[in-house]
Subunit: 375 residues, 2 copies
């Protein structure tokens, strides 16, 4: 189910490294944005525009993040909204926007001005229109991330590569639904549902441009608890797809931590394991080096002792490597589990709190992509 | 100036992956140890033994960390001290110890029992004795780290690779001096001087076994302020050498942060930059991608805005890439500076606090070493 199947008019174009995408709709809107203290101009302007809780259009450019561009960058972001609003025949404050790409360069406003009418002219509801939209927001993405829920009438499209690289791999996620909710409700539900996207601390680097928007086209009634559950499922799916498309990633892993003394401990243990370079490289090499996991748990800052349990599992097999501090010696079996996407389950045996994180392995390819990319 | 030049009797042997080293001396002792909550048995036992403030010997093994080995591991660590004490003719509580190597395996006590007399028999004050000691404590180290101060009569030897890998690259540092100080003074001075070793957050992974010992042989008078300064210089030198020997590192960089609003902000900004995978890979590729530094500053958690200054410099050249948020466009010049070890200087323009961190780049070789190493 594409955005266009929900009634959203879409289109986009891509010319070399640069892309421009637009969408036309009418709906209640809410958004969550990067926690990076240095926020890109489009993040600042979009936040302001959607504060009314209502929007009629969306404009997105790729190839240039319009970040670290000062007052002039803010002007450019506003100008983008103005250009879109004239075409969409609405107020410029009714336009949401996002940018992704290189940091510290002014937008090529001439190009945007020239291309916007072209994008607008092609707006439509066909599958091809949806595909052109998705393609235009891509940067280093090897594939476009999509997820939907028939039950809750949700369709989401996202871009972002696992190693959330601030210069090229900002995470942008646009979620539309025909289910009817007010902006306030959308915000509450979105805030909760984006957790998996926040837990995608693949290399710990947070982009200046990360943007997740949720738009309700307000056509039908869906129970809130159903919508919430489905929205979380959609975000979890997008998060896993982003990890999967990690720069140079060969596989993804999920870390589930249980038995933590408190909420914070569960969170930091999960994130610390998912972020450890030594864990990530061991996973690339399918090496069940649980010592690195133990070490990460130890330096996470959480209250732990050595009576922990560590299990590796995939859908077919579950292997206990350490049981309450006792080493089982099942490394060979664990190696098998690690050959594709798998889960690391850690029980701290300290309490009842749980949390999770999503990670991807660290390969030669990651170093290649990130050392050879030239500013 | 080697340990042996200060009058310490040294020796060591290495057989394949395993090494055993001993030293004989009489002196006041102080130590600082890993902050990892899961501490190796030798760390626990050494801490206890040196709490008397006095020691007569040191025994170190490499190849096995004796970490995550429970009660039995503690027994083994104590047995190591007992073996050494019998040979050195002292109390077992007068022996300091350290281990480095793989996690989660019992020590081969038979091998240690067999080899200790051999090591003891070869104890001496020759340069070769010092070299055998240094070599025996090595694991993945490509070279042994040494630093000394003639002025303050300090000699230090250390092992550790930049990407402090808990399974193989624990940092062990043994510092001896003939300057006369009490254990309490040694501890105060050491605690302060080890800062560069703590700031070597090369991949953020902290070993279960990190140990730094400072021994005063108490022969001569050195002014405390002189000693403190020289001790800090020695530790800084060791830290840089460890970074230089980073697994797969091709160059090191120092991050100096100034103008921070408070102490904590200065620290987290320096550490966050030094730890960023994107910064590290950019440095490997000599790519002056200051956008990644800006992004790291932004997500560090410190109070910052976009009016920051970023300078790259080495001993020959200084290039300002960003000045109070204004982009200078000097990327080509900065590329030159990055071709060898260099410094990143960041001014946050928010206050008067400063701090630093030491890092090394992230290369293909790092991934190779850490994915192909088999537990």
């Amino acid at each position: 189910m594409e955005l266009t199947d929900l009634g959203v008019l879409c289109n986009g174009i891509k010319e070399g490294k640069f892309g421009l995408a637009m969408a036309k709709f009418k709906g209640a809107i809410a958004g969550v944005f990067t926690s990076n203290k240095i926020k890109a101009a489009p993040v600042i302007v979009c936040k302001e525009n959607i504060s009314s809780g209502y929007a009629k259009g969306l404009i997105v450019n790729s190839g240039n993040a319009n970040a670290f561009t000062g007052e002039k960058g803010i002007e450019d972001a506003k100008e983008m909204c103005r250009i879109a609003s004239k075409l969409l025949n609405c107020n410029e404050r009714e336009v949401a926007l996002a940018s992704t790409g290189v940091i510290g360069r002014r937008l090529d406003m001439d190009w945007i001005k020239r291309k916007a009418p072209e994008v607008f002219a092609g707006l439509g509801k066909s599958k091809e229109c949806a595909e052109r939209f998705s393609n235009a927001i891509r940067t280093t993405d090897k594939f476009i991330k999509k997820a939907y829920s028939e039950k809750a009438k949700i369709s989401a499209v996202a871009k972002g590569a696992g190693m959330i690289a601030p210069n090229l791999a900002t995470m942008l996620c646009f979620i539309f639904t025909t289910a009817k909710f007010e902006s306030g409700e959308l915000y509450e539900m979105l805030k909760k549902a984006v957790k998996p996207l926040n837990r995608l601390t693949v290399d710990g680097d947070t982009s200046t441009n990360d943007t997740v928007l949720l738009v309700s086209l307000g056509k039908e009634k869906v129970e809130r608890y159903v919508f919430e559950e489905e929205l979380e499922r959609v975000c979890y799916s997008i998060a896993k797809q982003i990890a999967k498309d990690g720069e140079g990633a060969t596989k993804i892993f999920e870390v589930f931590v249980k038995g933590a003394k408190n909420e914070k401990d569960a969170e930091i243990v999960a994130k610390t394991i998912a972020r450890s370079l030594l864990v990530k490289t061991a996973i690339f090499g399918s090496d069940p080096n649980w010592g690195r996991i133990v070490s990460a748990i130890g330096y996470s800052g959480a209250e732990v002792d050595d009576k922990i349990t560590i299990v590796f599992e995939n859908d077919e097999k579950s292997v206990k490597l350490v049981e309450k501090g006792f080493i089982t010696g099942k490394e060979e079996e664990a190696k098998e589990v690690m050959k594709k996407d798998f889960r690391i389950i850690v029980d701290l045996h300290k309490g009842v709190y749980e949390d999770f994180a999503i990670g991807c392995d660290l390969s030669y390819e990651y170093v290649k992509i990130n050392s050879e990319y030239t500013t």
